[in-house]
Amino acid sequence: MLLTKLTGIARSEGDPRVIYKGPSSLTDADRLARALGWFSVGLGVVELVAAGRIARALGLEDKEGLIRAFGARELASAVPTLSVDKAPGLAARIGGDVLDLLTLSTALHRHNPKRSNAALATALVLGVTLLDLAAYAGVKAAHHRGSGSRRDYSGRTGLPRGAQASRGLARKDFKTPPDYRAEGTVAAALPAAAT
């Protein structure tokens, strides 16, 4: 509400101002998708700038480059997730979660001194995966065409006299204005045509 009030400076005295907000057109799934999109942005930036520290914390020192690539992937999936086409972004995130889990699984062996960190990260990724799946299912359910393709509007002519009888009807009393006309033809302007 603070932002809405602040925008009042762009309005004139007689313009209506918001007093109470009503329910939003955004569904819970839309909001969850948006939150996951911003989470992707945050995680992506961290993975890009602190790939080395993450790799060492997980005992995956040889995978610093891969973690950086995952950061780029997170940013790439954030773009559609934050757009109106959320489903492809969420699908990309789910695919990314699988890659994350596969990578983390290589750090869960008993010889890894950072195994507990890797286990915690795996649990977190599993949790986020569940959220991604819920958001994907929710967005798909909320935004679908439903039975629309079965509707038939073939009786809606909008031309009370019928399509055929209406053809050219306006020509009887309407002339295209000169500013929308290319008057005449070149042939008509040629001397031969004039004779």
Binding site: T7, G14, R17, G22, P80, A163, R167, A170
Partner: protein, 391 residues
């Protein structure tokens, strides 16, 4: 009062807001009896125009009853008058208004400096359509203040339903202008891309103006069935090549006149690979619009033909085949509709039973259901083509 208010991308709410008040002697306030959601409202719903502010009231297709009149508008309006409000606000006195170019009125954009920066020269004020066009509160509300009300209204008679009259505010004159500026002549083949509400009005206008063959292009069966009802030949671009089919229907020469009733948000699909690139660039804010239809029209239009653009474009587009357009000698005509230029004539045609614009309404709802109707209209769910709202 209640109003549909923009709060951000995909976030429209039915809020309680303060009532509008008269600010200028030329203002009037109307009690809204009917309003509608326009396809171009979806560009704002998708936040593709970076000039909306949280708290902006949506809507530019509105009609109602005059309840308050400023002193300078009293010679033209009185309480109780039934009026349709054009989406363009016009002064009626500037050079452009005198020429009939009402959508580029020089005086009604109250944020002219912003408009000048964005467009080079500001265009007319519009209701509920960003601060680039004045930031005027829109008409998806119980009441609407109409600036320059003495010239920004269409008086309509009693005895004709709101359903038949409401679309004089926008989509009927918009569709009519799309056909008129295409300079349709008897014998012409006219191809119309997009069978949304404006496309549907364009198709009927083309028929009334005597086009021999009207070809409607879309991919939604319910929209194509509505187009076919007016006698149009339909092309489903999911099922067949638009270019091949148009050439087949025109003896290989292409349509004389091509009309874009789609604009900024062409359907994105694998069958139209350029739309995938455009969508990606749009997401990264590297391009404002997806001009697939423009590219296709330029490619398939008959040389020396006319391209009429009525679908709303927002800003920058990429990969426009200007070489094809120039070498083929195409004429481009485009504009936001100059609504009052056509409405007197169109009202007469409604009264005369030549056209009944109510055919396009597929959903009616209470204003409070507006937020969900925005989503339904955007998702094209439940066969939704046009939503009419009643406060």
């Amino acid at each position: 009062m209640k109003a549909l208010v923009w709060h951000g991308k995909e976030d429209i709410r039915c809020d309680t807001v303060s009532d509008p008040a008269i600010e200028d002697p030329r203002d009037a306030v109307i009690k809204v009896t009917s309003c509608a959601i326009c396809g171009s409202d979806l560009h704002l719903f998708h936040n593709l125009v970076p000039a909306m502010l949280p708290g902006d009231i949506m809507g530019h297709e509105t009609m109602g009853e005059v309840v308050e009149v400023g002193s300078a508008a009293k010679s033209k309006l009185k309480k109780g008058d039934r009026v349709v409000i054009p989406f363009t606000i016009q002064c009626g006195e500037c050079d452009q208004c005198r020429r009939g170019n009402f959508s580029v009125c020089e005086r009604t954009n109250r944020k002219k400096k912003l408009g000048d920066k964005a467009f080079g020269h500001a265009t007319a004020g519009l209701f509920g359509y960003t601060h680039l066009t004045g930031g005027y509160p829109g008409g998806q509300a119980e009441y609407l203040r109409v600036p320059f009300a003495d010239t920004t209204h269409i008086k309509v008679p009693d005895g004709i339903s709101d359903e038949k009259l409401l679309f004089l505010s926008d989509i009927l004159p918009t569709g009519w202008q799309a056909a008129v500026q295409a300079d349709i002549q008897p014998g012409d083949t006219v191809a119309v891309w997009g069978c949304g509400p404006v496309g549907q009005m364009t198709i009927r206008s083309a028929v009334l103006l005597g086009a021999e063959q009207v070809i409607a292009i879309d991919h939604l069966p319910e929209r194509l069935s509505m187009a076919a009802a007016a006698g149009a030949i339909t092309i489903n671009f999911d099922e067949e090549s638009v270019v091949e089919r148009l050439n087949e229907l025109t003896g290989g020469k292409g349509p004389h006149k091509c009309i874009d009733a789609v604009g900024a948000e062409s359907h994105v699909g694998v069958g139209q690979p350029d739309t995938l690139f455009d969508r990606a660039k749009q997401m990264l804010m590297m391009e404002n619009d997806r001009p697939h239809v423009l590219r296709e029209m330029i490619y398939v239009c008959r040389p020396a033909g006319v391209i009429s653009i009525i679908g709303v474009y927002l800003g920058l587009i990429d990969k426009l085949p200007m070489g094809q357009a120039m070498n083929k000698g195409l004429t481009f005509r485009m504009a936001q509709a100059h609504v009052p230029r056509w409405t007197g004539d169109l009202l007469r045609r409604i009264e005369d039973g030549q056209i009944d614009p109510s055919f396009v309404i597929t959903h009616k709802a209470d204003l409070s259901q507006g937020p969900e109707m925005y989503a339904k209209f955007r998702d094209k769910a439940d066969g939704c083509i046009k939503v009419m709202l009643q406060p």
